[in-house]
């Protein structure tokens, strides 16, 4: 019971905190460089990522957009040959600082991957995985989290009667929304999405896009996409990456209507990439 009273207000508090301030940034990336062995994949990247908005990252294959989003929660560290320098400030703390705990960062910054990757467990167990690893054991709290997270991911009505069934029985689009629900269950601050719709059919894609619009009220979202129309439809800001560099970063409307750089214009008008 005590745990219950403790956890509930936290949710509301964060929601209130995030209410308006449009000028606040969750991330400040400063002169970020990254190498895979000897190949440099990111070159002097500077970027501020605003709170409660959708920031899209576009660019042709191999331009470093996936690498970039994975440095934001330090997932790139899982590849041994990766070296980075520069700094990334998340809520004014340098995430590359030696004292900074990567588990703490990834609790605050959730991630949705390119291919839906539910665990080979029940739908229920998938959603409570995060809360459980952070030490929540109370069955009632976990039940609440499951309902809230699945509703948040617009999946509740489809699965509420079969929570105990294996997640692999869901369709691809449902699996991806389950992964989003799993991510929401940890109550993150930022959600990183690495081409979340590239493995999905158009209708599932549309659902995820609508969901993203819904989620940005409570979360800050960074989304990598190879689909320019998608970036145009759902994002507030867009960054165009080419060969590891940011060519242009501005409001989405500006990028698509009057790009400053010739290369951006060529890319969005479909002349290459």
């Amino acid at each position: 019971m005590l745990a219950n009273t403790k956890s509930e207000p936290v949710v509301e508090e964060t929601n209130e905190d995030k209410a308006v301030d449009m000028n606040k940034n969750v991330y400040k990336v400063d002169q970020l460089n990254l190498w895979y062995g000897k190949d440099q994949a990111l070159i002097n990247v500077d970027m501020d990522i605003p709170e409660n908005q959708v920031t899209a990252i576009i660019g042709p294959s191999g331009c470093g957009k996936s690498t970039f989003i994975k440095t934001l929660n330090r997932m790139t560290e899982m590849i041994p040959i990766v070296k980075t320098n520069g700094s990334i400030y998340y809520r004014d703390e340098n995430i590359f600082d030696k004292k900074y705990k990567v588990e703490q960062l990834r609790t605050k910054v959730g991630m949705v991957f390119q291919k839906p990757n539910p665990f080979p467990k029940s739908i229920y167990e998938n959603v409570v995985y995060g809360p459980k690893i952070h030490g929540i054991k109370d069955k009632k709290i976990l039940d609440d989290i499951v309902e809230k997270s699945l509703k948040g991911a617009a999946l509740w009505d489809e699965v509420k009667d079969r929570l105990k069934e294996n997640a692999f029985g869901l369709s691809g689009g449902q699996q991806q929304r389950l992964c989003i629900a799993r991510c929401l269950a940890v109550e993150p601050d930022v959600i990183l999405m690495d081409e979340p719709t590239s493995a999905l059919d158009p209708i599932s894609t549309l659902k995820i896009e609508e969901l993203v619009q819904e989620l940005k009220k409570d979360y800050s979202i960074v989304i990598v996409t190879h689909n320019m129309q998608q970036a145009g439809r759902i994002s507030d800001k867009t960054a165009f990456f080419l060969n590891g560099e940011i060519i242009e970063y501005d409001d989405t409307s500006t990028i698509f209507s009057s790009p400053q750089d010739k290369r951006t214009e060529d890319y969005i008008s479909g002349r290459f990439g």
Binding site: P80, E103, Q104, K115, N117, F119, G130, V186
Partner: protein, 302 residues
Amino acid sequence: MRAVGDETATGYTQGKGKNAANISSREIKSKLFKGLFIGATGFSLIVLLVLLIRIFTQGIGFLSWDFLTSFPSRRPADAGIYSAFIGTIWMMAVTAPVSFVLGVGTAIYLEEYAPKNRFTGLIQMNISNLAGVPSIVFGLLGLTIFVRELSLGRSVLAGGFTMALLILPIIVVASQEAIRSVPAELKEASYGMGATKWQTTYRIVLPAALPGILTGNILALSRAIGETAPLIMIGALTYVAFLPEHLLSQFTVMPIQIFNWTSRPQEEFHFVAASGIILLLVMLLVMNSIAVWIRNKFQKRL
């Protein structure tokens, strides 16, 4: 353009004629090799069949409940495998947990924790090489370390440890393969939610790898059940008319008992040995079936 086209066309027809002429000789060759491979398979099947028939015709007469529950005897008619059967179970009770913990632990370390550098590469190579070391060498090792240095004597404990060392490389390699086959996306998902390495290993990697790990363990244990050489080396007794009472008791195991019977001059003892072999084969068959069953059961679920 046209000329080139014509040329290839004629070339093609000519080729076709040549190929057609060739076809029958190629077919003969194909059939020849098919026959050769069937012969190779058939040969080993026949050898196995002869072996089984011989053992069953010799041994089935002596196989009875009394055979299972009697101690060895000087008279073939009274001889039983009781002490060796129980000895095998005692030894497995030591070998199984020791080799499981050490083997799976090593596999987890090498796959999940160890940095991939020259040193771990060396360890990896040596583990693979250890799997090929003759079992009698492990017997020498057990004799030196467990029997003499640690003064465990010719005990169940010394035998069990020696067997655990013998099958350790097999378990490590099998467990590593099982762990490696867990999809990276699942681990990423877990790490992405702020899980630590141990949480990810314990909650995601191990459950997914468990069927493979168990299968590898059971197959390795079934190898240990049939091994004789290392235990002869550490001096397990060949004639035991008592049961082990604790871990430091002297003991014997089934293959040693069988070996003892076959080396006796009286022919009846060879039949007794055949009965022992039947029992050993049945145990192996049961263990391997369990391994297959586990594999199928979990494969379906995923």
